[in-house]
């Protein structure tokens, strides 16, 4: 009887000899990336075309390709205002999506996002210090604040985010497990927010207004001269993320297994946090603390691609992040109107129902994450 069920173990050599086998089905759908790319181009053009002055799509394409538009003012509007806005939105969406994805994988937690380690709190402290605590700045200067001091705000936000990230990074190499790090990041956030609250409490109302405007988030503030800084930081951050593809996949099994697969956990941890800091930090510096995209986009991608494999999830998140951010920008402008709504309200308004939908439809969310 034993002989009947005894099947010898096959030999590896037999498999190497077969060369007519189909590719392994890893459950990946890379072709969907092309669909997303097409959607991205479409939304991008729409954002450039829409606004208080509506510009025909064909004219948008002509201007973007370096041609001359029917009306000279159109080219001016597109190149000076709409294109930087659309680029900023695309970069910010991609950056926040990817940093959210990395945090969710790293912490094995579906609620993690780009800001769990206190990046946005650090940035807001920097901004709050500049806006609220610069005692010598008179109310008259505040009027010109929005124009003149964009770069000052961005620098303050970057420095604030950088300091918080530096502290987290210093600790990251030493702690035993990532859960400690998560709690540490959260507590850092609360601490920093407490300082901001104190500053707000003692500040004059006009300055509070300036601070609150920053917290609404906006894709409109980035000028062409600042664009290389934002684009450069996002490019470097995304490059690090793509190099980490394999490490992120290994981390799906948890740190113990990842280590057994030859992963240097300490180094990986530092790289993930550095990339997240760069991506989310740069975006927060230039656009304010844009919420929700970072948490929602990775979920959208997982449900669209139906995989946790970062080889498709990472490029997918880049594209999806850019698309969602552009859509948010489109809605915030309220087409056919001069009204501009707070960006964060829009990202939450369109993001929250989407995430709720995904979570309810995908009942196994819990299973897809930490055991």
């Amino acid at each position: 009887m034993t002989d009947a069920i005894y099947k010898p173990i096959p030999r590896p050599a037999d498999y190497l000899a077969k060369n007519d086998l189909p590719r392994l089905n890893l459950g990946l759908r890379p072709l969907l990336l092309l669909v997303l790319l097409a959607a991205l181009i479409g939304v991008f053009l729409l954002v450039v075309a829409a606004g208080s002055v509506r510009i025909p799509l064909n004219q948008v394409v002509i201007v973007l390709l370096g041609g001359t538009a029917e009306k000279a003012s159109w080219a001016n509007i597109i190149l000076k205002f709409r294109l930087p806005k659309a680029l900023t939105a695309a970069l910010a969406g991609a950056a926040l999506g990817v940093s959210g994805l990395m945090m969710q994988t790293f912490f094995r937690n579906p609620l993690a996002g780009p800001f769990v380690l206190g990046i946005s709190s650090g940035a807001s402290l920097g901004v709050a210090l500049v806006v609220l605590a610069s005692g010598t700045v008179g109310a008259s200067m505040l009027a010109g604040f929005a124009v003149a001091s964009d770069l000052l705000l961005a620098s303050a936000a970057a420095i604030g985010a950088g300091i918080v990230m530096f502290v987290v990074l210093m600790v990251a190499g030493r702690v035993q497990n990532s859960m400690t790090l998560l709690i540490l990041g959260l507590m850092m956030g609360y601490l920093v927010s407490a300082f901001v609250s104190l500053l707000l409490y003692f500040a004059v109302p006009e300055r509070i207004q300036a601070y609150i405007t920053w917290t609404f988030g906006s894709f409109n503030g980035v000028t062409w001269s600042q664009m290389p800084i934002l684009a450069g930081a996002v490019a470097v951050g995304l490059a690090i993320a793509f190099v980490l593809t394999k490490s992120l996949n290994a981390l799906l099994l948890g740190e113990g297994y990842a280590r057994s697969l030859g992963l240097d956990i300490g180094r990986t941890r530092v790289a993930i946090i550095a990339a997240t800091a760069l991506l989310a930090g740069a975006v927060t510096a230039f656009c304010g603390p844009v919420g929700f995209l970072g948490i929602a986009v990775p979920h959208l991608c997982r449900s669209l691609f139906n995989t946790s494999d970062h080889r498709v999830l990472l490029p997918g998140t880049v594209l999806m992040g850019a698309i969602v951010a552009l859509v948010a920008a489109l809605i915030a402008e309220v087409p056919g109107n001069n009204l501009v709504l707070p960006l964060n309200a829009i990202t939450a308004l369109i993001g929250a129902p989407v995430v709720i939908g995904v979570v309810l439809r995908q009942r196994n969310l819990q299973k897809a994450f930490a055991s």
Binding site: G27, T245, A368
Partner: protein, 335 residues
Amino acid sequence: MKAAALYTEALAIGYASVRQPDVTLAADLNLSLRSGELVCLLGPNGAGKSTLMRTLGGMQKALAGRVVLAGDDIRELKPRELATRLSVVLTDRPNTGLLNGYALVALGRHPHNDMIGRLSPYDEAMVRWAVDAVGATELAERPVMELSDGQRQKLMIARALAQESAVMLLDEPTAFLDLPRRVEIMRLLRQLARDTDRAILLSTHDLDLALRSADKLWLMAGGAVQVGTPESLVLNGAFEAAFLSEGVTFDPLTGSFSMQDVVRGTVKVAGEGVVPTWTRRAVQRAGFALVHNGTPPDVEIEISGDESHPVWRVREGDKVKVYESIDAVLAALGQ
């Protein structure tokens, strides 16, 4: 005899701590694992099985001595090099999210493939082989989260196989599984050790299964590890001593542990085969001690008739009664 794939020299394991003295769980261990050999690490809870596994796998620092893997001290190996020589299956069942079986097993190719983890034809062949080798072919294209614990465990073993390491360490691979699945996994591991010439060490609480399937046992108790074939460790009493505890006795004749209750008398059950064996278990559970040697028992049971219709003749002193079921025998003994 083959050279050891992994051996330890004067290894001490335990926990180092900064403010308090080190906690040493076992010291001066000189152990070796050979290719083609299935070794089971046994020991009571808290003996340090997991610590030993973690130390051998380079996941925890040794307090003293060293672990040598294919000629090199594991402390001197880079993580990636170590991963090509040693793979592990851990107790925790990670939920791997939305991966299918092949994608999960393909993670085992990480130490071998390129920076973003692309699979070469060779990598694909190894993944396919590993999946077939554990008999999980029909699971491989399904999402891992839809699989049962046992199925997932098979894929985790396949992942370790795909890693192509000469040594495999498994920490309680049969925990959480039902008995048929445990037997299946053990059989698979034994076959893998022999047929793929790997050195496999697994820790387990499944004493019975370990006694039946291991080529060698590492018996860990009281800060030392005794090594030997299962049979020799049973015969020299080491096995019984390691698991000695109140209310449980190891019966070297049946090779299993039994619950020791109040002894209500002694019984001798004559004969061999299915019916006598289960009769012995029944009377033992009812609180009677079995006698095998010449001591006259309180009750003697003989079984006649064929296996489908056995008849129990129970002799108690001068009285002989005949019963047609174990239930009836137990009811009579209970009076």
